[in-house]
């Protein structure tokens, strides 16, 4: 059983504090959804955990089974068991998906001889076209193909914890179902004596959670988790929107809130 523990995490981008004290504890096999409106700090949370350049940690810690994650460079965070599924996967011209996964397995000291078959199996399972396996990463892929590609990499690398940054954005309904089901399966899969994957699913919309069943839901507003609960919280969001979780004083601060959309309200 692995544990990912985030304590009092504060971080800034370009001098502006975006995360203002995040506490979360995840265990193997658990699915945690972190939901929030635009500007809440969702992408920042995923970037800071994974070590993306350009983010400054002001305070707090991220520990994976007692290892200080924030002290490691990004590639080592990956090799000890963290994986980021990106909202906008980067195009890397001329660098082939299968070559990257081969290098990625090698740096984990894992056998690469079965990679070819593994790729074929995973591609088939999530509806990723076989012809795209030996193609430059994300180049000329549609939004849906990019997210299937991200999900395929996740399944091949099989981390201890997956951080999904808006997996659902840009996805048609079929791709969303295929990708979220695969993640759900990984979170339940303890075959071969492996621990099931833990999931931190960061999302704006609850539609991701139709197939990916969260055990815990956290509401992130302005860099803080304002409420945590069970899956029923997502249902509340679905019917009432984020308004239910907004402190009253912020509504007073932003008089146009009643007229504008939710995104306007939180993108302050």
């Amino acid at each position: 059983m692995s544990t990912l523990e985030i304590n009092g995490l504060r971080a800034s981008v370009a001098g502006k504090e975006i995360l203002r004290g995040i506490d979360l504890v995840l265990h193997s096999g658990e699915v945690h959804a972190v939901m929030g409106p635009n500007g809440a700090g969702k992408s920042t949370l995923s970037a800071v955990i994974m070590g993306k350049p350009g983010y400054e940690v002001l305070a707090g810690s991220v520990m994976l089974d007692g290892v200080d994650v924030l002290a490691l460079p990004a590639w080592q965070r990956a090799t000890i068991g963290l994986h980021l599924v990106m909202q906008y996967p980067t195009e890397v011209p001329g660098v082939m998906l299968d070559d990257v996964l081969s290098e990625a397995l090698a740096s984990r000291g894992r056998d690469t001889s079965a990679l070819g078959q593994m790729l074929l199996d995973e591609a088939d399972r999530i509806g990723f076209e076989e012809r795209l396996l030996h193609r430059p990463l994300n180049v000329d892929l549609s939004g849906g193909e990019k997210k299937r590609n991200e999900t395929l990499q996740l399944a091949v690398l099989r981390p201890r914890f997956a951080i999904l940054d808006e997996l659902d954005s840009g996805l048609d309904i079929d791709a969303l179902r295929d990708c979220s089901r695969r993640v759900e399966d990984l979170s339940n899969d303890s075959s071969g004596g492996r621990e099931p994957m833990g999931v931190l699913a960061i999302t704006h919309y609850s539609r991701l959670l139709n197939e990916l069943k969260p055990d815990h839901v956290h509401i992130l507003v302005k860099g803080r988790i304002v409420t945590s609960g069970g899956p029923e919280l997502a249902d509340v969001l679905e019917t009432d929107g984020y308004a239910a979780f907004v402190p009253a004083d912020e509504l007073i601060d932003e008089p146009s809130a009643s007229a504008g959309g939710l995104d306007d309200l939180f993108a302050l």
């Binding site: 195009e91 660098v95 990257v100």
Partner: protein
């Protein structure tokens, strides 16, 4: 007109960097008198029935002398002439290798290529050094693609890092012809190639691609001209370079569309990676357009490895130095995949990888 004669090297006046065409070059460092004109015998393989070696006096552009070095080349005996008769498809690649001495020699290889109407040929010209040591190579390529001819040409520079090379390429494409001019430059101390690719027949098309990678104190210098001298002509250019250590590179490209070249399309892309703090690259695109009815674009970039690309690979658990290697090799892949004689690409890719300093210490 000054004497351009190999017997009187000391009398030759060299250009200076004050002239725009030699801007950024190392021409001021050249001491012509330090080199000794030397006979040179190239090796040719493939379908040699189309190849004439020595004794050939063909000159496709007798009225044009791009620079003093092309003039010097003209005063040397012509060496190789390839003539493909009309209606002939040459399946097998013609390969020419120039092994240049490394004892202060001056060599002027000249290749004249005449491809008849509706013919097809692929030619690879490789420049290598016999050993370590200085030399000066002044190659000239003259190429004519007749109506509907299809010509692929690839020059590979793998000279040693003390040899200078100053080359001129002149190509003309007639009606409906298709010409690919490709370059891979890994070698040389200062290595310059000027390419004039003219389309003089309606419907003609040229494509130019180059991969150049300089390390140490090497400098690569490219001048290209896409000259549209007929209506409905098409040109496309993709030059990708990298510099590491204290190396330098310059790309200067001109798209010239003459008044009568209506309905023309011309594209030019130059991308450069600077892999070390001390390395330097410059990109200078120019347009000269004298008609309205054209489609034209140019793009140029100079910069380090893209941080997002590196992070994406690192986030998969790949060490930074391996991530950088993958990104650089991937960057060049776009050119390698377009080279004629696809079988060469893998070997050239390996040579680029071997030259790349990134990650050496870690492996």
């Amino acid at each position: 007109m000054p004497v351009l004669d190999l017997e009187h090297l000391a009398a030759i006046e060299l250009p200076s960097t004050d002239e725009e065409i030699w801007r950024y070059s190392r021409i001021a460092d050249l001491d012509l008198g330090a080199y000794r004109p030397t006979d040179h015998v190239p090796q040719v393989s493939g379908p040699i029935e189309f190849v004439e070696i020595s004794g050939a006096t063909a000159d496709l552009f007798p009225d044009e002398t791009p620079d003093v070095f092309a003039g010097l080349n003209r005063s040397a005996p012509a060496q190789i002439r390839i003539v493909v008769p009309a209606g002939t498809v040459v399946d097998e690649t013609i390969s020419i290798t120039h092994t240049i001495g490394a004892d202060g020699c001056l060599v002027c290889p000249r290749l004249v290529v005449e491809v008849g109407a509706d013919s097809q040929v692929t030619i690879i010209e490789r420049f290598v050094s016999s050993s370590e040591g200085p030399a000066l190579v002044l190659p000239v390529l003259q190429l004519r693609a007749d109506q509907a001819a299809r010509v692929n040409y690839l020059a590979i520079n793998e000279l040693n890092q003390t040899t200078w090379a100053i080359g001129n390429q002149q190509a003309v494409g007639l009606r409906d012809s298709t010409t690919l001019l490709a370059t891979v430059a890994l070698g040389g101390d200062y290595a310059r190639v000027r390419t004039d690719a003219r389309l003089s027949g309606k419907g003609g098309s040229t494509r130019q691609v180059a991969l150049y990678f300089a390390g140490g104190t090497q400098m690569h210098d490219f001048r290209t001209i896409q000259d549209h001298d007929a209506p409905h002509t098409h040109s496309d250019l993709l030059f990708k370079g990298a510099v590491q250590d204290h190396a330098a590179s310059v790309y200067t490209g001109l798209i010239k569309i003459r008044e009568h070249a209506r309905g023309t399309a011309a594209f030019q892309t130059n991308r450069n990676l600077t892999l070390s703090e001390g390395a330097w690259a410059e990109s200078v695109p120019n347009l000269e357009i004298y008609t309205n009815d054209v489609k034209c674009s140019h793009a140029s970039t100079v910069g380090p490895i893209d941080e997002e690309q590196r992070f994406y690979l690192e986030s998969r658990g790949i060490r930074p130095e391996i991530a950088e290697r993958l990104v650089v090799l991937g960057f060049f892949d776009e050119v390698l995949s377009q080279l004629p004689a696809a079988g060469l690409a893998e070997g050239l890719r390996a040579r680029v990888a071997a030259k790349l300093n990134i990650g050496e210490a870690a492996s």
